[in-house]
């Protein structure tokens, strides 16, 4: 059923884009030259007179084959073993001394293996383009159209295929600096790369799902910490996202209200807190809220309290304080984000509502809010995910503290989010495998939540709604 639905989707997509050809179609309907280009890349282009393109395809193939035979094949083999040779002392006959022989570095084996897989995928995409291009030339010839010159080809990159041009470099960067490292880290979740298996010197190996079992098992020390930290992460993300959004929107509307004077002054005041780099303001807040910090001193001088308030030393206090401090950080961003869109609401909508006799409350709920949610739904979701992953606020304010010795031997603290715990596990304790598992689980949580809500929002289902 599912496969059929998917196939239908594909067909619909192809129908939607009549000019595009699929590789399968190209191979089935293509002539001998097209099929030859499956083996000798660029053959089709060369035959139909697109020499530069043809040579480029051919060069890509040669380079790839050379690369694979010199380096790639070995790296792929290394990926399966992750190294077999540990560092050891070997007796050197000629020098008559014991020498350390460098063993295999499992980490590098893993990285190179993953990189080679990526290069292979990249090559596969070039290969597909080559087959499709050869078939496209054949089709043009059959239809009696002249073959595109190099110049026309390049020109189409600024017109019909502008999407390719605009997306090429950004995508390349995303692949290199986001996807590749991510795959690398995901692989680590299935190894025993922890503090007892540190390359170079020691090897680590594939262990399957053992790490996941340990973390999800509520009975183990790791599992106990995981479920408690997860709970707090949720409370934090919900509070931080929605308080910031709602309060920020109210504030923006008060500022935008036509009776409010000095609009740009108010806006300036609130935006000012963005001007201060977050880590500065957070570190300042942290010192201000310490036991001997400015706030406690002020309250004591005023005689409101006798003992210092335990802003960071008591778990509950610390949690509430973090959420409140985050309002200071987050609300200006909401104002910035929302102000523009609030003013973007077509004036006709308001005017016609007024003519129909709607009051300000009705206008807010019937026009402003739906419009805002429509436009900012993706923003809200990103905010929520961003808060689950909000490293800065937590780490700079409390470093996860107050400490909790029952959280896996004190690796985690009472205000730790999953991400800050992940950071501590990898950077401070070198438990890369557990860090990676936590990363994956965080992702799963975010993904399930976001995809479920995101697909429901109007801006996904009906992108053209307000256009």
């Amino acid at each position: 059923m599912r496969a059929r639905a998917k196939k239908k989707g594909n067909q619909a997509r192809i129908k939607e884009f009549p000019d595009s050809v699929s590789v399968r179609e190209a191979i089935r309907k293509g002539n001998a030259t097209v099929r030859l280009s499956c083996l000798v890349m660029g053959a089709g282009n060369l035959r139909y007179g697109q020499y530069v393109k043809g040579i480029l395809f051919l060069a890509a193939e040669v380079v790839y084959i050379l690369f694979m035979s010199l380096f790639g094949a070995g790296a792929l083999a290394g990926l399966t073993t992750l190294g077999i040779q540990t560092t050891q002392e070997v007796f050197n006959e000629t020098k008559q001394i014991y020498e350390y022989v460098q063993g295999d570095n499992s980490m590098l084996f893993l990285l190179y293996g993953v990189a080679v897989i990526f290069i292979t995928i990249g090559f596969f995409i070039i290969w597909r383009t080559n087959v499709k291009s050869a078939y496209a030339q054949q089709k043009r010839k059959e239809q009696g159209k002249p073959v595109l010159t190099l110049r026309e080809d390049l020109k189409s990159l600024l017109d019909n295929r502008l999407n390719v041009t605009l997306l090429f470099f950004p995508t390349l960067c995303v692949v290199m600096f986001t996807i590749l490292p991510l795959v690398f880290m995901i692989c680590m979740a299935f190894t025993n790369y922890d503090r007892n298996h540190q390359p170079p010197g020691q090897l680590f190996d594939w262990v399957g799902l053992v790490n996941f079992e340990k973390i999800l098992d509520t009975g183990s020390g790791l599992g106990y910490a995981f479920w408690h930290i997860l709970g707090w992460t949720f409370i934090w993300a919900v509070a931080a996202t929605f308080l910031n959004y709602i309060l920020g929107m109210i504030l923006a509307m008060v500022i935008n209200w036509k009776e409010t004077r000095l609009k740009s002054f108010w806006r300036f005041i609130f935006v000012l807190s963005i001007a201060v780099p977050q880590f500065v303001s957070l570190l300042i807040m942290r010192t201000m809220l310490q036991e001997q910090g400015a706030i406690n001193v002020l309250l004591q001088n005023l005689g409101l309290i006798s003992d210092a308030l335990p802003f960071w030393t008591d778990a509950t206090w610390a949690r509430v304080t973090i959420i409140i401090v985050n309002l200071w950080i987050g609300i200006p961003f909401t104002i910035l984000q929302v102000t523009g869109i609030l003013q973007n609401i077509p004036a006709e909508l308001y005017e016609s509502a007024k003519i129909d006799g709607a009051g300000p409350v009705t206008i807010f709920f019937k026009i402003t809010l739906p419009y805002m949610l429509f436009v900012t739904a993706p923003y809200l979701i990103t905010q929520f995910i961003g808060n689950i992953n909000n490293f800065n606020v937590i780490y700079l304010l409390t470093e996860g503290g107050p400490a909790a010795m029952d959280y896996y031997n004190g690796t985690g603290g009472k205000t730790d989010l999953l991400v800050t715990w992940l950071y501590k596990l990898t950077i401070d304790f070198k438990d890369y495998n557990y860090g990676a598992v936590i990363g994956i689980l965080t992702f799963v949580i975010c993904a399930v939540l976001a995809l479920a809500t995101y697909r429901r929002t109007g801006s996904y289902k009906n992108e053209e709604g307000f256009q």
């Binding site: 986001t178 436009v375 999953l418 965080t442 256009q467």
Partner: protein
């Protein structure tokens, strides 16, 4: 009629009071940093808000005492990184956002979904891997570290936040594009001559956010720069000032540094205020 008027006046007063109270809360920490930066006494603890003795000594020390912390150099490093990053990142982000908003092609929906999914992985998860990749490219030695940081800041996970810009482009009526196509414009013409001029607010927003990122991030900078003080960015340097062994000597200088760092960003914000003011009523005024 009269009671309506007084009611309205009360409402206006409440709104302004509300704003005033919040404004004080918002400005207070900033005020406190500035005061600390002029404080003569050392250390991080102080019992008074307005110090007894004001001095410029902290600033002088910050810019002249370059033995332990070379602040002018950190500032230049960060500035170079931020300038390059904001141009590169804006170019990347706007390209993606525009393509996703305006063009229809086969890989579009999958691309959107993949971007969404990738954005859900914690950014710090892959930090170590990014470091090793940069090392493999030979970008972690000497001055190349700055290039490595530029690449990470402009080509990293931030690119996946193109949804904001896409949302903006979505609000520009398509009729304008179509009119241009009828006049024989290519897609590139429409993008550069019609959409971009209409998109100043989102351009400024993107430029700003990507300019600020290098000033605020210190975790990535710390991992990539390491202990090489020559290539410290401002954030790594200031963070180091608060390390246990430095905090007593350097806390007030830290405040002075914080003020200096905030100034370029604050100037930018004042400059772009008008974009966020009434001028930002979308691309095309109804």
């Amino acid at each position: 009629m009269k009671s309506m008027k007084t009611k309205k006046r009360i409402l206006i007063t409440i709104a302004h009071l509300f704003l005033a109270v919040l404004a004080v809360i918002w400005v207070f920490p900033i005020f406190w940093v500035i005061m600390t930066s002029f404080r003569a006494g050392k250390g991080s603890y102080s019992t008074e808000f307005i110090p007894d003795e004001l001095t410029l000594g902290n600033y002088v020390k910050l810019f002249t005492d370059t033995g332990v912390f070379d602040f002018p150099r950190m500032f230049m490093n960060t500035f170079i990184i931020a300038a390059a990053t904001c141009i590169l990142a804006t170019f990347f982000l706007i390209s993606i956002a525009y393509t996703m908003s305006r063009m229809r092609f086969k890989m579009r929906k999958p691309y959107l979904n993949i971007a969404l999914i990738l954005g859900m992985f914690p950014g710090f998860m892959s930090m170590i891997a990014v470091y090793y990749i940069l090392k493999g490219m030979g970008l972690t030695d000497g001055g190349l570290k700055l290039i490595a940081l530029i690449l990470v800041y402009s080509g990293g996970a931030n690119l996946l936040s193109f949804y904001v810009a896409k949302g903006f482009f979505d609000t520009i009526p398509k009729g304008i594009d179509e009119a241009a196509y009828i006049d024989g414009a290519t897609k590139w013409d429409v993008f550069t001559r019609i959409t971009l001029p209409l998109s100043k607010p989102i351009l400024v927003y993107t430029l700003l956010t990507s300019f600020i990122a290098p000033w605020t991030d210190f975790i990535f900078a710390k991992v990539i720069v390491g202990s090489d003080a020559k290539y410290y960015t401002v954030s790594v340097g200031l963070f180091q000032m608060l390390a246990k062994e430095n905090i007593y000597q350097w806390y007030t200088c830290f405040a002075a540094g914080a003020v200096c760092v905030s100034i370029p960003i604050a100037i930018l914000f004042i400059y772009v205020q008008r974009f966020y003011a009434d001028g930002l009523s979308g691309a095309v005024k109804g």
